[in-house]
């Protein structure tokens, strides 16, 4: 019967890597949030937010985030107020029954670039940029994928027919992506003086997006450590109790 355990384990292994086939293998990056003790590198996430604000947010919404959430990557209350106030938010109706514009507040959701998907398609040759709030969890490979995608633009191989307005990208399924290369290096001037190479920007924005996908990750790992320590001690004690109680039976 012991072999059953092995069979179950093998079965689980066999099933997990399903799906990822015949694609260019993604380079595996090292991330501050890797592993059981990994946390988000606040500086990288803030730089990533800057990239998002200045580049990606022209096309991509992040509907699940609120400006106040940025506290999670180390922005102070005042900084957040300033970031939010730089946006115009539609509010209302007021007592005249009209909608009006006002500067954003920390409690507002991130302001989307387009009012609706139709507006986005109309502006972008029919392509729809996905919301980025969960993009890291929504793609096989997560941060490695987004990092790779942003740097994966190449000339199409000879003989490949590209559709109109499509770009060749090594890591995109089918290799034809409607997003023009968003980053080329030096697209932003980082507030902390870090040099804005393409690699740096891609890595930082992927860090930011990973945080956005799962802002509670640090709390999860921290709680997990306490729970596991408790369980290990409890199980050890129970093992002792079991041995003692069963001693007479064997």
């Amino acid at each position: 019967m012991r072999a059953l355990a092995l069979a179950v384990a093998l079965f689980a292994l066999a099933v997990v890597p399903a799906g990822a086939q015949e694609e260019t293998p993604l380079p595996k990056q090292s991330w501050s949030f890797d592993g059981p003790f990994g946390t988000y590198d606040r500086a990288a996430a803030q730089r990533g937010f800057q990239v998002y604000e200045e580049v990606c947010s022209h096309c991509h919404s992040m509907n699940l985030l609120h400006y106040r959430d940025l506290e999670g990557i180390g922005y102070s209350e005042d900084e957040i107020k300033a970031i939010a106030a730089a946006q115009q938010v539609t509010d209302g109706p007021n007592d005249q029954g009209e909608m009006y514009q006002r500067p954003g507040r920390p409690s507002d959701a991130f302001v989307p670039p387009f009012a609706n998907p139709e507006a986005a398609r109309a502006a972008l040759n029919g392509a729809l940029p996905p919301d980025l709030s969960l993009i890291i969890k929504a793609r096989e490979g997560g941060p490695d994928y987004v990092d790779g995608l942003l740097q994966g633009y190449k000339n199409p191989p000879a003989g490949m027919k590209m559709a109109d307005n499509m770009q060749y990208n090594e890591y995109f399924t089918g290799h034809q992506i409607a997003m023009p290369p968003p980053l080329a290096g030096d697209d932003v001037k980082f507030a902390d003086g870090t040099k804005a190479t393409l690699t740096q920007e891609a890595h930082d924005v992927a860090t930011f997006l990973t945080w956005a996908s799962e802002p509670t990750m640090e709390e999860r790992k921290f709680t997990g450590a306490k729970v596991l320590i408790f369980l290990l001690v409890m199980t050890g004690v129970l093992y002792g109790a079991k041995r003692q109680i069963w001693a007479a039976v064997h």
Binding site: M1, A3, L4, A7, V8, L10, F11, A12, A14, V15, V16, A18, G19, P36, N63, L64, D69, P130, S133, L134, K137, A138, R139, E140, G142, T173, S213, E214, P215, T216, E219, R220, K221, T223, G224, A225, V227, L228, L231, L232, M234, T235, L238, Y239, A241, K242, I245, W246, A248, V249, H250
Partner: protein, 423 residues
């Protein structure tokens, strides 16, 4: 009936009117259990604990969840982000479903190996199969609730299966959907049923336990208890053994919940459902993969079209389990004493693993053949090999008693006299 030796006045007052303490004394303290149960016998109580964990986390999730096609996805993300420890509830529930199935599948294979479905435990086994069916329905409908891409398309594929039924199929599908496609009415009824069915499971589990306590547990030797030297009281022996097993189990479960909560899930389900965009691959959760493979492997059989044949085999794959007590013609329970069945059992384990592997891939190339052969074997195993092996096999001699087989001295009566028993 010997009343429990309760000193406490209040306890005695209550017990006289509602014999709950006597009942517990009887079912836990006195309940005689074979002395030789291995750790494979832990998976029954683990299943029960998983059911409780699912209900508790589910009830709390339902307090924040909104069953509406426009809000469901965001409400789950709200739970993940804004509800205190909402991420914990959600990950416990999400991974809990996987671990519930792991535990129940091990429990079931344990039963297959040690012949726990045989006389006099046929109904106990059949109630277990009913629980499995209810669990599958519950998990299927639960997976629809977060309203991701796989939720939607999984629901669509599986409910559409019923359209394979001749004549009334399409009407049944519309009736299930509550409309002309998987939409808000579908989500609402799935939520309602997803809330209801676990409590139905609790009811069937109670019957399962009543049936269990009628004849007691089977054991690795598969022979009946012959006297007091063969048994020990459930408490404290098996309570402590179950608790220790629970600890080990929780460590593994917690490792997933806290450190790889999405490892068993599909990334596509973090994309909100979009009825206009079919995902490249529609795959169910891992615990349905073997059945999914059966569904997709079956070709046209005579005049039955492949789709209907697939659905019939899918239900047949679970339905056949109801008949095992009669398909197995061997009188010997434990595979330990069945030199042929002992090996054939592992063929089934491998077969189900191959089915699962095929289920995760499109039926293309050699997956078609592998899927078909493993589907065929699944049914041959139960319908042909079970009776035939029972007839032809010559079992090994059975030990005279449990105690004789498992103790050095042949076993002195134990239990009532054990020091832990004295209050």
């Amino acid at each position: 009936m010997a009343a429990a030796p309760q000193q406490n006045k209040i306890v005695r007052w209550i017990d006289h009117r509602l014999p709950i303490f006597t009942f517990m004394q009887h079912e836990l303290n006195e309940y005689p259990t074979p002395r030789n149960l291995s750790y494979w016998w832990n998976f029954g109580s683990l299943s029960g604990i998983m059911l409780v964990i699912m209900i508790v986390t589910g009830v709390f999730l339902a307090m924040q969840y909104t069953p509406n096609v426009n809000m469901a996805f965001d409400s789950v993300e709200r739970i993940m982000r804004d509800v205190n420890f909402g991420w914990l509830l959600r990950y416990l529930h999400m991974n809990g479903a996987s671990f519930f199935f792991i535990v129940v599948y091990v429990h079931l294979f344990r039963g297959l190996y040690y012949g726990s479905y045989k006389e006099p435990r046929e109904l106990l086994w059949m109630l277990g199969v009913v629980i499995l069916l209810l669990m599958m329905a519950t998990a299927f409908m639960g997976y629809v609730l977060p309203w991701g891409q796989m939720s939607f398309w999984g629901a669509k594929v599986i409910t559409s299966l019923f359209s394979a039924i001749p004549v009334v199929g399409d009407s049944i599908v519309r009736w299930l959907w509550g409309g002309f496609s998987v939409d808000n009415p579908t989500l609402n009824r799935f939520f309602s049923l997803h809330y209801l069915l676990p409590f139905v499971i609790v009811g069937v589990v109670v019957l399962h336990l009543v049936a269990l306590h009628q004849h007691g547990s089977n054991n690795p030797l598969g022979i009946d208890r012959k006297g007091p030297q063969d048994s020990i009281p459930f408490h404290p022996y098996y309570t402590v053994k179950d608790m220790f097993g629970l600890g080990v189990f929780l460590i593994i479960y917690a490792a997933f919940v806290f450190y790889m909560p999405n490892a068993l899930g599909d990334p596509q389900n973090y994309v909100q459902a979009n009825p206009m965009q079919t995902p490249l691959e529609i795959v169910p959760e891992w615990y349905f993969l073997p059945f999914y493979a059966i569904l997709r492997s079956v070709p046209d059989i005579l005049f039955i079209p492949a789709k209907l044949a697939g659905v019939l085999c899918l239900f047949g794959a679970i339905g056949v389990l109801f008949f095992l007590p009669w398909l197995d013609t061997s009188r010997v329970r434990s595979a330990r004493f069945r030199p042929v069945y002992k090996w054939v059992f592992w063929l089934l384990v491998i077969d189900v693993a191959v089915l699962g592997y095929c289920g995760a891939h499109r039926p293309e190339g050699w997956f078609i053949l592998a899927g078909r052969l493993s589907t065929l074997y699944y049914f041959v195993h139960f319908i042909i090999l079970f009776p035939v092996i029972g007839w032809l096999e010559r079992p090994l001699p059975l030990p005279t008693s449990i105690a004789a087989a498992v103790t050095r001295k042949g076993g002195a009566p134990l239990g009532a006299a054990s020091p832990m028993e004295k209050h």
